[in-house]
Structure formats: structure tokens, C-alpha cells
């Protein structure tokens, strides 16, 4: 089976060019200005063709909490958002802290066949914060990194060992940076809005303290620390200093943290409740500047489905987290529209850098011989992100019902079309 994507504006991290893409089987057979014969012809005139997006931070709630989302619905949400590779976090039930669960998750994703699922294993057994998992076994089973995301690893000693051990296997550790002793039972950022609402807050220093510690432990061990969902101005300053000093640190940000401030919470909308919480305008500005100036390595969604009933509740009882996969492209395109980044940089942040970090040599770039994981993006299409478009079992996004601009109109995974935006010809 051959597919030709013609009239493509190909966006790679280092160049933009107009050409045709010939796909044979699972791989890109040629990038050409010729028009070779093919079984399937896709006309991408006026659209952008990017490498399939790689989302290094999702929650698929499978196994155990499949009523929120499962690997099947998560895969469908992913490809509807142009994402062809997902790294699900380990806070499933049971927790992904062993090779058996890792293998099972991968097998389920393969059976559905929409995405590549690369599990992130827990750092500690049962995410209990005490005993490091069998990282070697889990890597052999397909795990690519380790995180107790949702919970920080409080013990510096355990974190040190996790960094050293993961380094031995050529992997890395992702920490949910939070010093819980500074939480005060908080449900949002501590500051002006929390004071007005009468909601207990979490100061940003709670994140910054843990970032500081982990950077120092990375210095001590030479291990690779990846700082998840950075939300504060000072965290970014600390990361920059560490990187300038040669510490092995990478970091990620989410679209909600570069789009929204804590002001969104003034109506107690639980769909804006997330961890780390939305912070202030200066933090959002800092995150955006860090994206623009190259400090941020990857944009991730932290896709965190929660059932409608769990969010339709008093604010302080509602769980943290919002959907993200299907709003990744429109929110990231806003950075391009605002002049902060180019399309090439968008590709770097949403695909190329992740492929490099994960050592995925056949992904992240549109080139001859690479895996044909591609997304055709219409950056100008306006549409209402409604419950019909939403592929998740949950609908905990503040953007449900809102008009968005820019979408994946066709997603191709290993040479096969796995998503078509309804009623759009690409």
C-alpha cells in the first residue's frame, strides 16, 4: 500500500518546504517534487504537515479507572489531537510499577493500533515513595522513563537512588515537583485569587523548593532529571541556572500553564482546577518566554480525564486535572500566532525534542526512511470543540463548547490514516 501526500507544506524543526510525501507501508519512502503513483492520494494544499506529535505526559487511567478513559479512548483522543505517540503516567490502579503491567498496557495499545504507547513506570513501588522499582525489568518490558507523577518523591535519598539507577539504564526520572509540607491542603495557587475566593492555596515556592532539590540531586548523581509541568517563574530561573552549569535537566510545560492564569478560577470552575495550579500573569509570561527562548524542551498535555460527576461538585472536593490531547494543537498554535515561536519551533517542542530525549530515532522528523507518523494541520480552521468531537470518556476541559482555531484534520500513524476531522477534506 502506497500513499502520496501531495502539495504538502512540510514543517520540520529545521526547515519548511513544499513537497510531496510518498509513504510505502509504514515508512516515508520519499520526499519529492515529483508526483509518483500511489494507491491513496491526499491533497494537503493549504495545510501544514508535521511529524506526528509526541506527548510525553498523559494519563489514560488504564488499568483500573477505565470509566474516566482507557487506552482505547485515550488513543482516539490522541490521534484526534494529532498525537501519534503517548507516554502514559504510572498512577493507574494497580500502579504501573512492574513489567507485567507495562507489557499489558503496550499490548492493549497495539491491539487498538492507533498510537505508540510508551509507558512511564513508577519511580517507587506502589508510588509509596520508599522503594525504587525494578527499572531494568520495566525498561526491558517497554517503559521509557520513571515518574510517581501526581505525587512527589519526598525522600531525597530515594530520589538520589532513582536518578543513579535510571542513569545506569540510560533512562531518566520525571518528578512531580511539589513540597507537600508547604501545601496547606491547597486547591489552587496561593495568592490574590485564593484569598478572595476563600480557597486554601499552594504557594509557587512549593514547586520551586522541589525543583531546587532535584536539580541538586541531578548535580550529585549526573542523572537526568526531567521537570514535569513547570508552572512558576522561579522554577524556570532555577532550571536555567542549572542548565547553564551543565546539570542534566530537561523540562516540559503544558498548554494550560502558558494560556491561563489563576483569574480563570474566580467562578470556582472545577475544569480549571489542576496540579500544579494555574498561577499568575508573571508566571504565564515567564513560561511563554521560556518557550520562546529555548529553555523549555517539550510541550505536553498532562491529559487528565476525570468523570463529569467527579468535577460537578464543590471546588475543594473536585480532583485536579483537565483534558488536553485535543486542545494541544489549537493552544500551541496560539504561540505561533502571537509571534513567540515559529511553526518549526512548534514541531521541535511537540515532536522532535521528545523523540531525541526518548532516543526514538525514526520519529520526530519528516524525512525519507522515517516512520510515517504524520499530522496534517489546518492552522486556520475554526470549529466548536463540542462533545461530538471530544473522544475522551470524560469532558473535563474548560474549552468544551468553545470555538477553537487550528486542528489536526488528518492523522497518519505508521502509514495508515487513523483520524479524519469530521467533514473536512485534506
Amino acid at each position: 500500500m502506497t500513499t502520496l501526500i501531495k502539495n504538502a507544506t512540510i514543517i520540520n524543526f529545521n526547515e519548511t518546504k513544499k513537497a510531496n510525501i510518498l509513504i510505502e507501508g509504514e515508512t516515508i519512502a520519499d520526499i519529492t517534487t515529483d508526483e509518483p503513483k500511489a494507491d491513496i492520494i491526499i491533497d494537503a494544499s493549504g495545510k501544514l504537515v508535521m511529524p506526528g506529535l509526541i506527548d510525553m505526559h498523559v494519563h489514560f487511567r488504564d488499568p483500573g479507572l477505565e470509566y474516566k478513559d482507557d487506552i482505547n479512548s485515550g488513543s482516539e483522543s490522541a490521534v484526534a489531537g494529532g498525537v501519534t505517540t503517548c507516554l502514559p503516567m504510572a498512577n493507574t490502579n494497580p500502579i504501573n510499577d512492574n513489567a507485567v503491567i507495562t507489557r499489558d498496557m503496550i499490548a492493549k495499545a497495539k491491539a487498538r493500533g492507533l498510537i505508540d504507547l510508551l509507558p512511564i513506570g513508577a519511580i517507587t513501588k506502589s508510588m509509596g515513595g520508599n522503594k525504587v522499582v525494578e527499572m531494568g525489568d520495566m525498561i526491558n518490558a517497554g517503559a521509557v522513563a520513571f515518574s510517581d507523577d501526581g505525587l512527589p518523591v519526598a525522600s531525597s535519598d530515594v530520589m538520589r537512588y532513582a536518578l543513579e539507577y535510571s542513569k545506569h539504564f540510560g533512562s531518566f526520572v520525571i518528578n512531580h515537583s511539589q513540597d507537600c509540607s508547604l501545601c496547606r491542603g491547597g486547591h489552587m495557587n496561593e495568592g490574590r485569587v485564593s484569598a478572595i475566593l476563600g480557597i486554601k492555596g499552594m504557594p509557587r515556592e512549593q514547586e520551586e523548593i522541589m525543583v531546587s532539590r532535584d536539580l541538586l540531586l541531578a548535580k550529585l548523581t549526573g542523572g537526568h532529571i526531567h521537570i514535569a509541568h513547570v508552572s512558576s517563574e522561579w522554577s524556570l530561573k532555577l532550571i536555567k541556572q542549572a542548565r547553564d552549569e551543565g546539570i542534566n535537566v530537561t523540562c516540559e510545560v503544558t498548554p494550560h500553564h502558558f494560556t491561563y492564569t489563576e483569574d480563570e478560577l474566580m467562578n470556582y470552575d472545577t475544569n480549571f482546577k489542576m496540579s500544579p495550579p494555574l498561577r499568575t500573569k508573571s508566571d504565564v509570561t515567564a513560561v511563554r518566554e521560556a518557550i520562546a527562548n529555548g529553555l523549555v524542551d517539550v510541550i505536553v498535555t498532562d491529559h487528565a480525564p476525570h468523570h463529569d460527576d467527579e468535577k460537578f461538585i464543590e471546588f475543594d472536593k473536585a480532583p485536579f486535572g483537565i483534558l488536553g490531547l485535543q486542545t494541544l494543537i489549537p493552544l500551541t498554535l496560539n504561540l505561533v500566532r502571537d509571534g513567540l515561536i515559529s511553526y518549526e519551533k512548534m514541531v521541535e517542542l511537540t515532536s522532535t525534542n521528545a523523540a531525541k530525549m526518548l532516543n526514538l530515532k525514526n520519529k520526530g522528523v519528516i524525512a525519507k526512511g522515517m516512520l510515517a507518523d504524520l499530522v496534517i494541520v489546518d492552522p486556520d480552521m475554526e470549529y466548536v470543540y463540542d462533545k461530538n468531537l471530544n473522544k475522551s470518556k470524560s469532558s473535563n476541559s474548560p474549552l468544551i463548547g468553545k470555538t477553537l482555531k487550528g486542528a489536526a484534520v488528518k492523522t497518519i500513524k505508521s502509514g495508515k490514516v487513523v483520524f479524519d476531522f469530521p467533514n473536512v477534506v485534506a
Partner: protein, 309 residues
Amino acid sequence: MSYTKKDLITTSNLTKDEIFHFLNLAKEFKTLNNSDVKKAKSLYGKTTVNAFFENSTRTRTSFEIAAKRLGADAINFSSSQSSTKKGETLIDTINNIVAMKTDIVVVRHYSSGAAKFVAANTDAHVVNAGDGLNEHPSQALLDLFTILEHRGNLENLTVAIIGDIFHSRVARSNIYAMQTLGIKVKLFGPPMMLTGMEAFGCRICKSMQEALEDTDVIIMLRIQLERQDDEVAFPSVREYSNFFGLTRAKMKFAKDNVMILHPGPINRGVEINSDVADDPRYTHILNQVENGVAVRMAILHTLISNKQG
């Protein structure tokens, strides 16, 4: 101008005219309450439910008396008897109450924003009787009514709110309403009870002396120990009393005609000493309790009038 909204959830969106609407109406109901037959008919045939998900004695009783004096059937519901103990959600519990043709639901809840959430998702009129740390609008209105009654006007006033401001819904509702009326509000308390309070634009005092000097009304707040489960408690009640409690000795900084209010219940010897709390020259605490019924009658009457209008 009368108040025309479906619910009363916050004082932050009340206009000056709306505040005075409630205060003027409360004055009429207070006259009624002081007559031999304490009964009106504006809620005759109506049902009010006091849905209290948090313990309360005076507020619940006050709303109950208010509703009954207006002729309503007033039902009390407390969380200790409620379906929420069986896992039912707040909104399902409320909708079941409303399905029984309830006209007004008076909600007290331990979560900030709960009253707003309920109001947005039910057709019944909702009165916020205190939601978490957020607001307690009827308390603010009765405080204003008590001040107005005693002083004759609310012009050129300075009010000091002293104590556990962060955990106080009374403070927030008072700050909003008082600022709308042009009243200067000063705040004072231990630092851990003032977190983020600069957000309200009030003067933050550094000492009891600063709080008391040139102040017309002192509102002493109770330490909300029950709201500090997850927090590092302040060092001691004894020390709190020394530095932040109102004593006879500290009253030397206050004006001779200063009014002292307290939303109750009082922790005698902690935030306020008995010799001050019971001094008839200053204290208006029992006036507040009395006025609370009249103010709540004004609120219930207004919401039902809106429905009929």
C-alpha cells in the same frame, strides 16, 4: 432600588442602594419583632429549608425564626442526618429538597463556592448562610444594620476587623459591603491568619494599637481552629490572647464611643475578654443576634417578592 436577583450569595455584587434596601426593610421587620404579634404573611404558604452541611446554632435558628415569622414552613436539615453521609452529592441532595417544592434553600456548607454552585444548578432561591472561608452575606448585613441602628448613619466610618481574617467568611462579606458603602476597613491579626489579605485593598495594621486607634467599629473574629486541620497551628491560644486579643488594657487605644461586634460564638478570654465583651458601653453582640432575625426576614421577604413580582 430593591434587590432583584434570584439568590443572595455574595455581598461583592451588591450596590449601595441594594444594601440599604435590605437595611431599611430590616428596620421594618425589627419593629414587627418588637410587637406583641411577631407575624407577617409574605412567606405564607411557602417552604424554606435550612440545608446546613456544617454545624450551626445561631444562624440556623435565626433563619428558622425569620422564615416562621414571615409565615413560611421552615424545615431544618443538617448533614448529620443527611444523604451526603451515604455518598449522595451536594447537588443531588439539594435537587431532592427542591423537588419537594421548596421555595427557598438556605445553604451552609464547608466548601467555599458551594452556595454559588448550588444556586447555579437549582431553580429555587438560594441564600448563602456561610460557605467555607468565602462569604456570609447575611452576617455582613446584620453587622451593618447594627452599626446603622446605633450610629444613625454609615458615613465617615472606620472599621477594624481583628483576628483570623483568612479563615473568616464574615470578614470577606463585610469587606465587600463596607467598601461599597465607602467605609474604611482595617485588618489586623497574626501573619498566618492574614495570608493574601492585601488582595482586598484594606489597610493591614501592624499592631493592636494601630488597629484600634481612630476606629469607630471593632469586629472581633473567632479563631477558626476547625478550619486549620491541614495547617501548622499558631503557637498557642495563650499567646494569641496576649497579642491579638481584646482586653480592657488595650481599650485605652480605642475611642470612647467605639462599637464592638463579634459574629459569635465568643471564645471568652481568647479573642475578647469578658470585661470588654460584656461592657455595655462598647458591646453590641446581642444586638447583632437580635438584628440577625430582622435582616434575614428582609432577605427571605425580598427573594420571595422577586419570585412573585
